[in-house]
Structures are given as C-alpha cells and as structure tokens.
Subunit: 329 residues, 2 copies
Amino acid sequence: MSQSRPVKDLTIDNITENVHAINSDCKDPRLRFLLERLVTHLHDFARETRLTTPEWEAAIKFLTDVGQICTNVRQEFILLSDILGLSLLVDSIDHPKPEASTEGTVLGPFHTHDAEHSPNGALISHDPDGEPMLVVCSVKDTQGKPVAGVKIDVWETDSKGFYDVQHADRTGPDGRAVVQSDDAGMFFFQAIVPVPYPIPNDGPVGRLLGVLNRHPYRPSHFHFMFDKPGFDRLITALYLRGDPYERSDAVFGVKESLVVDLGTVSDVDGLSEKYGVSPSMRLLQYDFVLVGEEEVGKLRDEKAREAIRKQGMKGMGIVNGTLVPGDSS
Amino acid sequence: MSQSRPVKDLTIDNITENVHAINSDCKDPRLRFLLERLVTHLHDFARETRLTTPEWEAAIKFLTDVGQICTNVRQEFILLSDILGLSLLVDSIDHPKPEASTEGTVLGPFHTHDAEHSPNGALISHDPDGEPMLVVCSVKDTQGKPVAGVKIDVWETDSKGFYDVQHADRTGPDGRAVVQSDDAGMFFFQAIVPVPYPIPNDGPVGRLLGVLNRHPYRPSHFHFMFDKPGFDRLITALYLRGDPYERSDAVFGVKESLVVDLGTVSDVDGLSEKYGVSPSMRLLQYDFVLVGEEEVGKLRDEKAREAIRKQGMKGMGIVNGTLVPGDSS
C-alpha cells in the first residue's frame, strides 16, 4: 500500500484533505467517492457545530447501543435511518418511478425471510381479535398488461399493533406470507385490518424520539414487496385513509397515491361468492403497477445526470449505474 | 407534542425540510441544532452520491456489525471515528491549546477504568519480553509552575503490541496505571519501550481499512491522560521518533510536538542512583504543560466565534460554551 503523503500535525483545518489523501489509495472508484463525501460531511458537521467531546462520547454510546440491541428479528439501525428520513430518501433516489406506476415507500425493520409460501385465498393472519379483511389486488406492467408469477411478500401487525417478531414467544411466522400473482395478474388472501402502532420505542431510537419530542406512531398500513426477474423490485405499503397518524408518520412513509379507502366485500357484486367470504368482511383492493428493470435503470441514470447538472457537480460520470468521479457518460 | 405541519408525499427535494420541521419541536436548542445539521449532511450525502439501496443495506449491516462487536473492553465505534479522523478533529475543536501548552491527541479505544493507583517509581508493565524503560515527567501550568496532585492515567501495549484488554485470558490490568504528580510536579514509573502495532483489525473497521487499501498500524506511543480540578483534561500520547509508522498513523494522532527521542538513563548524571535503576535502561522524559479550565473555555469560545465568522454562519450564538442558533454573544 502506498502512502500518498506524510500525515502529521493535523489540525481542524487540514485534517479532512489528509484523510482524503490516505483513502485515495482505495482501488474501487465508487467506494473512494463515497468515503470522500462521507468524511467531508462528517468533518463539516463537527466543524459547523463545534462538536464537543461529551457530545462525541454520547454519539459513540448511542450508536453502540443501537448496534447492541439489534438481533436477527430487530434492526434498530434501519429504524434510526427511518426516523431520520434517510430510508425514504434512498428509496426515492434508487427506485425512481415513472408516471402511473406504483410509488415505493419504506421497507421498515420487520420484513423477515421465513414467511410461508401461501396459495391465493389463504388466511395469513391468525389473530382472533383482528377484524377480518379480504385483500384483492392486481399486478400490471406500465403497458397495462397483467404480470403473472410475481413473488409478493406481504406483512402486517396483529390487532394490537405488533409484528410476530416482536413477541418473545414467537414460534413461527404470522401476519406475513409470500404469495404469487396468477395468470390474470391477480393475488388475494385473507388478513386482518391493520392498526396504527408505535415503532419499537423501548430502545435507543425510542429514547431519541423522546428527547426530540416526537411521537413514535405509524399510521395503519399493510406492507408489500414485489419481485420478478426483469422488473424493478417494488417495496411499498398501503395506508388507510383517515388514520390519526396519516399526516405525521414517524418514518415519513405516507404518500397520497398509497392511501386507500377500505371497503366492504358487499361493495362489489359477486365478490362474496367468488372468494367464499362473508359479505360484511372488510375489503382492501389495489392495482399495482410494476416497472421494468431496464426502464428504471434508464430513469435512474437520467435523474443522476439531472442531479449532476442541478447540483453543479464537476467532473462526475455514471459507471454501472452509480455516480463516480470521471467523464460524464 | 405538536405536529408542525402535515407530512405526506415526501420526495428527494422536500424530505429534508420536512424532517427538520418535525424535529423542530425538540425543546433543547443545542440538540435541535445538532439534529438539523446531522439530517442536512446525511441527506446531502445520499443526494450527492445518489446512494443506492444495496449500498444503504451494506451501510446498515456495517454499522450493526460495528455495534455488535463492541464489549466492555472493545470499542469499535471509537476505532471507526479514529480511522475517519473524527476523533482527532473533535479533540482539536473542544480542547484548543494555547501556545506552549502540551497538544492533545486521540484517546483510542483502550483506556479502561480499572487501572491500579500506583506510587511514583512503581513498575507498571510486567511483560518479561519488554525492554525496560524509565519514564520521568513533569507537569507544569502555563506560567511554568509545577502542578502537584494531578491524577495521570498512563497506558501502553505489551512487547507484542497488545493492550492487556486484548488478551482473552486477562485477569486484571497490566501496562496501565493511575499515578500522581508529587509536590515538585514530577511523576515517574518503570514501564517498557512501546512498540508499533495494528489497531484491532479482525472486525468491521479492519475490513474497511482493507478495502480502502490502508494499513492498520499505529507508531509506537505511550498514552497519558491528565486530570485535576481547575485544569482542562489533557488526553495525549508521546510518539517515538524514527518509528516506521511515524508519518502514516492509521488514526492520524501524531504531532511533531509529541514526538520524542528515547534516551538512556546514563544520559543524565545521577539519574541511575536517584531512581535506583540500571544506567543502561531506556529513558522517556517529557515536560507536560496543562491549561486552566477557564483559559480553555475562553479560547474555545473565541475559536467558535472565529469559526462563525469564517464560515459565514448567520444568526449563531454561544450559550454555555456550545454553538446554538440565536444572538451572537
């Protein structure tokens, strides 16, 4: 490893360029760029705020606490990213949506990889206190053609506002499933009406919300994640209109296009018979529109070029879909 | 808790101001300011780099790994702060040093609170493979007057470059002590000659250094931390001149004023007899100069005001020694 230049006698004014110099031996141009921006912002933050040693110590302790409370079913760093608006921002940057396609929103920390594959029509939430709800949705492409064979992860809380993984006595998945769209691009299952709930606030992120004088609630919503080769993965959720937290989601996830009016099965002629459910059952309907991977890739590059122009970033180019210093291509 | 304004349909361009709006209900003006700057830099970082979802996921995993490897004797977040130059920067901001006082440097992750209080002259390092070294130092104030009764934490590695806490079979402190300056402002003890060593590189920070193509070594050094009511705490270290890593310290800690030439006890007439040690023993001598708390506080405020001017920050003031939005005072 080469040492770009001697590093000694670093001060408030020259340390940033010296850290850049040492990191410039990194062979990966994208990582080198990410580190260059990260170190610049980190140092500027400290300089602009005149960060004190006790504050730095508190930050070290906070981040350590965030890491230590993480388990295979609790992701406190995602929660932190969520409440700072970073998660929604990154999703917006990386998954630009053309007009008329379904918008994305935050993944949240409660997706798991152990949900059961369920056939269409299955009951996926077994909380007896939940209000039964039929979910009937379609998946189409941007040309309006049904998309069959899409793998769809769905997940929601129980009637008390807890995901299965938040129960210490969890024996297996509940309130979650992996379903698949049929030849007509339809998928349907029985669940329960989602309820508002606080994000886990017994840890460091909850304490941070407390000192910021912020409430920890998310409005009632139902998570969906769509995967099919050739299509851009869509991570989204549907929100119930009229929820008390519709306009103050702790993680900034609500978008008007994702807010739905809950209906009743009897609203639609023949639905009760077709799906073999009670006419009085609540009904969630939505038509999702997926975007091709290639289309999103092009749009992503286009938006990146637009950002380069708008932000006046000199000498930047796009290589393999990511921004790096170099010729603009 | 009031909700400043409805939060919905957030985009790349408007999310930052909306996160600020929600955080503005925080009652603590300093914390509110810190969050405002933190969120701005975090979002700008994501926007400027067009951060991707896989990169965000990698960052979440990295930070989680950093937190999870921390124990009561391993602090990986401090290590991360060190290799990014943040630790040295914060120390420089918070502990400005007037001319002719001893400069500070990084604390590092290996200070503990279980070191034994040792009388002057004690042997503090028991590694039989270490090269014996006599340490004889003075502590003075900026007027040149000896300062008695200063509590001084000292710590160093063993002959193989490991701190005691890095040994799995550690039964108690070694290579560390708490000593005290005598009425003449002197403190002295027997230790071993420090050696260069890699910072712990079997964890996520070590892996980061690897992909950055950086070596993990610190030059040979000896840590000191000075505490006495009325004086600004001094965290510093002495570095041995000629060390192979003198100009490429992985954590950016070396300052010319802290680089020393190691001598031999026989260099100074009468030293061997005075301290009852062999004339051929290595010798580390240094005169430390502490600064009064009040003097540092004034200097800190002065530097903060200078920064406000230089960085053109509008409407900032200093309250209780920290920068906050408000009237400049």
